[in-house]
Structures are given as structure tokens and as C-alpha cells.
């Protein structure tokens, strides 16, 4: 009964979304206030109905209702509750429902907090948001319905993929989807602005918080996925340049570019057409990411053929929204005249350079991801594009980005003098170079990646600190500190996010260069050296988990005879899915992780053991979290709150920067 209610709510949400699309658009066109007023209650109702529907599906998973086809395929009674819940979105149909849920929640949020938007703009934003909802709910209802029943329910289910039974991955998709789908708000704003034929500073201010929120979610989602890959997949890589990963990385890159160009629209009323273009593109990449993941076309052209209906449907959605958006863009972009004049050397230009590098790097990822498909279709060549290509083709753009970042952030708007802007950064540059040289001298004859990472990381981090110091003005240290603390939150957000970028750049370089690896067969009771550590395999025992069996090793890590940690790496076997997994054991530290994996027993006796010392591993995700935190701080900036709450507007003058 509850399942049917959920199913019914989804169908009703579909109807509501259709109304939400058509009436407000028509109302905005004919200036009919009553029709436009339909948008808000419709957006709220759609959100409420999808929440209901999602709740019903979750109920089906939690109570292990095996009359539901989806539950049978993806759940099992012995599975822990957390994974019963995360199983809701650990599959195609459920993840689409999550997609639609995020979409409707963003639409409802825009209806609630969009009170200060002009009536026609609000109606159009909500209508465009509604139309995306129509497309995705239709996709679900007609090709991938999560509420299908089975005529004869089995006694138990097929279990969720054991790899996905992990707390990190349980919450990775919701964050990622909030990010993907959040970019739909930027898209809706862009389309609405094109329909209005008007893009101004106010539009920039309205669209930026939504983009920022989406980008924060995306950052956290990607970081979680990468962290999961690091500890779960058993060889400690953190990024594989897999199509599925790239699918989330492209919108992130374009989203980052959009964030920066929206600043120019907001402050200087320039780059309008470009910003609109990026907003469309960012959501386009989100849709394409969904297409890549859902159709499986990249892994193999043949897996697409297995289920062409679904892939085709998403392709149609993609073609409709992108095609429509770009046609509208081509028609309307010429009327978006830029107002602010700026010189070739200025912060505006620096932000253009930032946009160029971010977009081209996203393009490289795109070409690399799609190339195997293209080569097979066009030249009949079956080939692969993997990490070595991306490392070589993508990294230079990030290096260039990190190089120009501190200089661009410190330049004044409108017209700048490179010499004068660079002057305060001389100290940072000298320190960064010194760090680079020192690292190069200390390390023993290995690649230049490590030292360059140290130099770049220092340059970006110190640059952000210099920027803050510059803004605190003159006077005694205490005066300056007080002034720095009173700086707009946007300034702090920018500094923190840029520091995060520096930290990640450094950590990626450090971890890939100074990694220690050891693979060997070890007998019980035997010790082996691992970098500066000594690892002893104490024992291996069999343990039983809730839905798996495992052999668990006890390994003692010591340094100079002093025990550092006792680690318990496991090799698990999930009988229902008939799948083995490794659970690496990691001793996490500030400067290094000790990472141990236990393998199969060897014919010669003992066990295969992999050990790693990974320097600065946590800094990679620490940097990503700092980027997200910076975004969050920026999101709480007064100018957005002032813009949001009309009551406070009279009392608080808007900060100049």
C-alpha cells in the first residue's frame, strides 16, 4: 500500500511538474500575474510529492519488501540498516529518484527564498526547473520505474554490491547529486535571463549563491568518492581518471569557472554572455555525466546496446535542453552588451584567464573521456585513454592556474599594473622558490614533480595570506588583525578556498612522488621494513561479519622499536554477491598514512602483503574540504543575506567588496 502511494505520488509529481512548466512560462509571456503565481505552490507541491515517493521507496528497502523488484535486486535482510537505506540510491532507478528529489528540493528552495526576485524572472526560473523535473520523472516512469512489483516475491534479495557497503560511499551519491542537480539552478537562471533578455549585476548576485552551493556539494561529493577509492579499493590510489569520475569532475571544473565569471558579472557587469554560456555548459556536463554513468556507453559501446532505451532517453533529454538552450543563447546573446570597461591587465582579465584554463582543462577531460568512443565509431580503432594521458595533458593547465592565481586575486579591478600588483607577492614567490629548491636538494634523485608541487603549493597558500594581509591595511599588528577579521566573508572565503587549492596541489604532488610501496610474502611472526617503519605480521584469524566472512590479520607497526599502531587489514568474502573485497587498514597521521593490505595465502607459506607509506595523504581531502569551507564562508557573505532578507536591507549598507 505504502509503495503504491509512493508510486502514485511520483505520477502526481509528474503532473504538477508539467503544470509548473507551462502556466508560469505562459504567464510570464502574457504578463498574467495569476498564472505566474502558480509556480511557487507547484514547486513546493512537486517537492513534497517526491519526498513522499522517496520515503515510500526507502520504507520498502528498510522493511525488505521483496515484492519490489528493485529491493530484490539490491538488498538483503542481513544487510546493516545503513546500507539498506543507502541501497535506495545504490542502483539505477533509485538514483534517478534521488536525482529528481534533489531537483525538486532546489526548486522548492528557489520558491521559498526567491521572494526578492522580479516576478517574471522567478516564474521563469521555476518553470525551467519544472521542465527539467518533467523530463526526469518521465524518464523514470516510462523506462526505469523504481516501484515495479514482482508477481512472486522471493524469500531474500540479491544484496548490494559489497564495494558500495561502506559509510563513505553511502553518502557520496547524495552529495554528488546535490552538486550535479544544483547546477540546474544556474541553468534555470541562465535560461530565464535569456528569456527576459536581461542580465545585470543583480542577476549575477542571485545566481552566484546557487552555483556556489552546488559547487560546494560537488566538491564534497568528489572528495568523498576519492577518499572511498583510497581506502576501499586496496591499493591506495585516490583518482583513477575513470569515465565515471571524469563525469563528476567536468561539471566541477566548469562550475568553478562559472563561480569566478559570475563575480565579474556581479561586480563589473562584464562577461555576461560568457557567464550565461558557462551556466548552460555546466548543467550540460551534469546531464552528460548522468548519461555516461547511466548508459554505460563509455565502458563499452555494447553495454549501451543492451539497454538502448534508457541511454537514448537521456540523450534526448540532453539534446533537448542543450539544443534549446544554445539556440536561445545564439538568438539572445547579442543583446547582452557588456557595460564595464576594463584594461587588458586587470582582475577581470585575470578571471578570464582563470576561466580559460578551467574550461580548457574540462575540455581535455571531455576529449579524453569520449575519445575511445569516437575513435571506435569514426576510425574503427579500439583504444584506451587512461591515467597517463590525463596526467600529461591535464596537469599543465592546473600548474598554469596555480601560477596565475595569487597574482590575479591581488590585482585591482578595471586597470592594474603587473609590477605594482606583484610587489607584495615577492616575498611569497621567494619563499616558494626556496621551498622548491630545498625540496629538490633534499630528495634523492627522483622526479621534479614533488619539488614543483611544494613550490606551487607554497606560492598559492602564501599568496592567499598576502592577499588577506594587504586588505587589512596599515597600522599595528593588532589593528590590522582586527581589520582583517572584519573583512567581508567573501574575502575570507576566497582566501580559504585558494589555500585549499594550494594544499591539494601540494598533497597530490607529494603523495605521488614520495610514496613508498612494498609487496612481499610474509610468514606469521615475520617482520619487514617499510620506509622508516618496521611491520610485523602477528597473526591471521577468521572472523564473521553480519553478511560476510573475513580473514583478518593483526599487524604491528613500529618505528625505532617503539610501537606506532596495531592494524587489522581484512580480506572479506560476501557470499550472497559471491564477491571478495579487501579492507585496507590505515594508520592515519598528519604527515603520512601507513597503509596495509592482506592478500591470499601463498604456496610457499605465509601471506601476500602490500604495504605503503603515503606522505601527506590526508592533505588531499583536507585541501578539498578547505575549498568547500571557503565556498561556505563566501556563501554566508552579508551581501547574499542582505539580498535574501528584505527586512534587513534598510539597516545594513552593502559592503563595497
Amino acid at each position: 500500500m505504502i509503495i503504491e502511494l509512493g508510486h502514485f505520488a511520483l505520477i502526481l509529481a509528474f503532473m504538477v511538474a508539467i503544470v509548473q512548466t507551462i502556466l508560469p512560462l505562459w504567464g510570464a509571456y502574457t504578463c498574467d500575474g495569476r498564472m505566474m503565481a502558480v509556480a511557487e505552490p507547484a514547486a513546493l507541491a512537486q517537492a513534497g510529492l517526491i519526498v513522499l515517493s522517496f520515503g515510500a521507496l526507502t520504507y520498502g528497502f528498510v522493511t525488505s519488501d521483496f515484492s519490489l523488484k528493485l529491493v530484490v535486486e539490491n538488498s538483503h535482510t542481513a544487510k546493516p540498516l545503513l546500507y539498506k537505506i543507502s541501497g535506495v540510491w545504490g542502483n539505477h532507478e533509485g538514483s534517478l529518484l534521488l536525482w529528481a528529489l534533489c531537483l525538486a528540493i532546489f526548486g522548492a528552495a528557489a520558491a521559498i527564498w526567491g521572494g526578492n526576485l522580479p516576478t517574471t524572472l522567478r516564474a521563469r526560473v521555476l518553470a525551467v526547473q519544472g521542465s527539467i523535473g518533467v523530463a526526469f520523472i518521465a524518464f523514470m516512469l516510462f523506462t526505469s520505474n523504481p516501484f515495479l512489483r514482482l508477481a512472486s516475491p522471493p524469500m531474500n534479495g540479491g544484496d548490494l554490491n559489497p564495494l558500495l557497503q561502506d559509510p563513505g560511499l553511502a553518502f557520496h551519491p547524495p552529495f554528488l547529486y546535490l552538486g550535479y542537480v544544483g547546477l540546474s539552478m544556474s541553468f534555470s537562471f541562465a535560461i530565464a535571463a535569456l528569456l527576459e533578455g536581461r542580465v545585470d549585476a543583480a542577476w549575477g548576485r542571485w545566481v552566484r549563491p546557487w552555483t556556489l552551493a552546488a559547487w560546494i556539494f560537488l566538491t564534497i561529493g568528489i572528495a568523498m568518492g576519492s577518499w572511498w577509492a583510497y581506502y576501499e579499493l586496496g591499493w591506495g590510489g585516490f583518482w583513477f581518471w575513470d569515465p565515471v569520475e571524469n563525469a563528476s569532475f567536468m561539471p566541477w571544473l566548469i562550475g568553478a569557472a562559472l563561480l569566478h565569471s559570475a563575480i565579474v558579472v556581479e561586480k563589473r557587469e562584464s562577461l555576461k554572455a560568457w557567464t550565461i554560456f558557462l551556466a548552460i555548459l555546466a548543467f550540460g556536463f551534469s546531464l552528460m555525466g548522468t548519461f555516461i554513468v547511466r548508459s554505460g556507453i563509455i565502458t563499452s559501446v555494447h553495454s549501451f546496446a543492451v539497454d538502448p532505451e534508457r541511454g537514448l532517453f537521456i540523450l534526448l533529454i540532453l539534446a533537448f535542453f542543450m539544443g534549446g538552450a544554445f539556440v536561445l543563447f545564439a538568438l539572445r546573446a547579442p543583446i547582452l552588451a557588456a557595460k564595464g570597461v576594463f584594461a587588458l591587465v586587470s582582475r577581470e582579465s585575470a578571471l578570464v584567464a582563470n576561466n580559460l584554463l578551467l574550461s580548457v582543462s574540462a575540455f581535455v577531460v571531455f576529449v579524453g573521456t569520449m575519445w575511445p568512443l569516437f575513435a571506435e565509431l569514426a576510425f574503427g580503432r579500439k583504444l584506451s585513454v587512461g591515467a597517463p594521458f590525463f596526467d600529461a595533458a591535464f596537469t599543465p593547465f592546473m600548474v598554469a592556474l596555480a601560477l596565475i592565481l595569487p597574482l590575479g586575486a591581488i590585482m585591482p579591478w578595471k586597470r592594474a599594473n603587473i609590477g605594482r600588483s606583484a610587489l607584495p607577492l615577492l616575498g611569497a614567490a621567494a619563499l616558494a622558490l626556496a621551498g622548491l629548491a630545498l625540496t629538490f636538494a633534499v630528495q634523492t634523485g627522483r622526479s621534479a614533480v614533488g619539488p614543483i608541487g611544494v613550490g606551487l603549493g607554497l606560492w598559492v597558500v602564501l599568496g592567499a595570506l598576502v592577499d588577506l594581509a594587504q586588505r587589512s591595511g596599515r597600522g599595528t599588528a593588532i589593528e590590522r588583525l582586527r581589520r582583517a577579521l572584519r573583512l567581508p566573508r567573501a574575502d575570507w572565503g576566497r582566501a580559504v578556498a585558494h589555500i585549499g587549492m594550494g594544499v591539494t596541489v601540494f598533497a597530490v604532488a607529494a603523495m605521488t612522488t614520495w610514496l613508498r610501496e612494498d609487496i612481499r610474502a610474509v610468514n606469521i611472526g615475520e617482520s619487514f621494513p617499510l620506509g622508516a617503519y618496521e611491520v610485523k605480521l602477528v597473526s591471521v584469524s577468521d572472523v564473521q561479519g553480519p553478511n560476510y566472512s573475513a580473514s583478518r590479520a593483526e599487524m604491528l607497526v613500529s618505528k625505532d622499536g617503539v610501537a606506532v599502531a596495531t592494524l587489522f587489514p581484512e580480506k572479506r568474502f560476501y557470499p550472497v554477491a559471491a564477491m571478495p573485497t579487501t579492507e585496507a587498514a590505515i594508520d592515519q597521521g598528519i604527515f603520512r598514512d601507513v597503509y596495509l593490505v592482506i592478500g591470499d595465502p601463498q604456496e610457499t607459506g605465509g601471506y601476500a602483503v602490500r604495504g605503503y607509506v603515503k606522505p601527506f595523504a590526508n592533505w588531499i581531502w583536507g585541501g578539498a574540504l578547505l575549498m568547500a569551507l571557503g565556498g561556505l564562508i563566501s556563501l554566508t557573505d552579508r551581501r547574499y543575506r542582505v539580498a535574501a532578507g528584505a527586512k534587513a536591507r534598510a539597516a545594513l549598507p552593502v559592503a563595497a567588496e
Binding site: 564495494l163 591499493w235 554505460g296 553495454s303 584554463l357 580548457v360 576529449v367 612481499r520
Partner: protein, 148 residues
């Protein structure tokens, strides 16, 4: 179990890949072997290198690579040895010849094109005339409004 999950299992079959008994005694040669195998794709699994994969064929390939190295082949010869048998599908780093050149040049060319376009647009805009000054009549009107 749907495609995302299938994809995920493909990128990451989490079982030890390189086994201790496969490794060469000579650390320099073993390091070369690892550097080669990490960039060769397992022909039967999706998106895994033969270094990471636990498929039997990957083990055979790992052993073959080491055999060739012991026989004195150069790195390129070993890679050619595997490629002639399994096609360029096994190369994670696609060749930069023929149509492959497009892939490698796409990024740099896009950057050049974008930079050129941005430079032209920005220069045109920077040298655009300042907004026209007010005419005497407009100025008088403005003064009247301001000092009313």
C-alpha cells in the same frame, strides 16, 4: 545490480594484483616492469591495468613482461610485444600518431584558440571609446536636476 555498480566493480576489483612470487629479484628491473605494467590495460576487464587486475590473463601478461625484460628487451620493445598481440586497446597512454594526434593536440589547440579569442575581444573592448560625454544641453539639464 545496475550499471553504475558494474562500472565500479570494473574499475576496482579489490584483490591483490601483483603477487610477491611474480616479482623479479633485481629491484631496478622490477621497477621497470612495474612502470610498464601500470600503463598496460587488462584486455578482459574494464579500465584496470594489468598491474592492478587479478584476472588470469593479467598475471600471464605481467609474467610475459618480466620475461621479456629478463631477455634484455628495452621498455619500448616490451610494450610493442604486448601491443602486437593485443592491439592498441591495451595502451592506457594512446599513441600520438595519426588520428591519435588529434587527441593530444586538442587541449593545447583549444587553449591557443581561446586565448586568441579572449585577447582579441578584450583588446577591442579595452580600446573601445569611453562613453560619449554629455552635450552642453544635457549637462545643463543635469545641473538643473542636481541643484534644484
Amino acid at each position: 545490480m545496475r550499471k553504475l555498480l558494474i562500472l565500479l566493480t570494473f574499475i576496482a576489483h579489490p584483490v591483490l594484483a601483483v603477487q610477491p612470487d611474480e616479482m623479479l629479484k633485481d629491484p631496478a628491473l622490477e621497477a621497470r616492469a612495474r612502470a610498464i605494467t601500470i600503463n598496460l590495460r587488462c584486455p578482459v576487464c574494464q579500465g584496470e591495468s594489468i598491474d592492478d587486475s587479478n584476472a588470469p590473463i593479467s598475471r600471464d601478461l605481467r609474467l610475459a613482461v618480466r620475461e621479456r625484460l629478463l631477455a634484455g628487451d628495452s621498455d619500448d620493445q616490451v610494450i610493442d610485444y604486448v601491443t602486437t598481440r593485443y592491439g592498441e586497446f591495451v595502451l592506457f597512454k594512446p599513441r600520438s600518431t595519426g588520428s591519435g594526434l588529434v587527441l593530444w593536440l586538442a587541449g593545447p589547440l583549444m587553449l591557443l584558440a581561446g586565448a586568441g579569442l579572449a585577447y582579441a575581444t578584450l583588446r577591442a573592448r579595452a580600446s573601445a571609446p569611453e562613453p560619449a560625454k554629455l552635450t552642453a544641453a544635457e549637462q545643463a539639464e543635469l545641473d538643473k536636476l542636481l541643484h534644484k
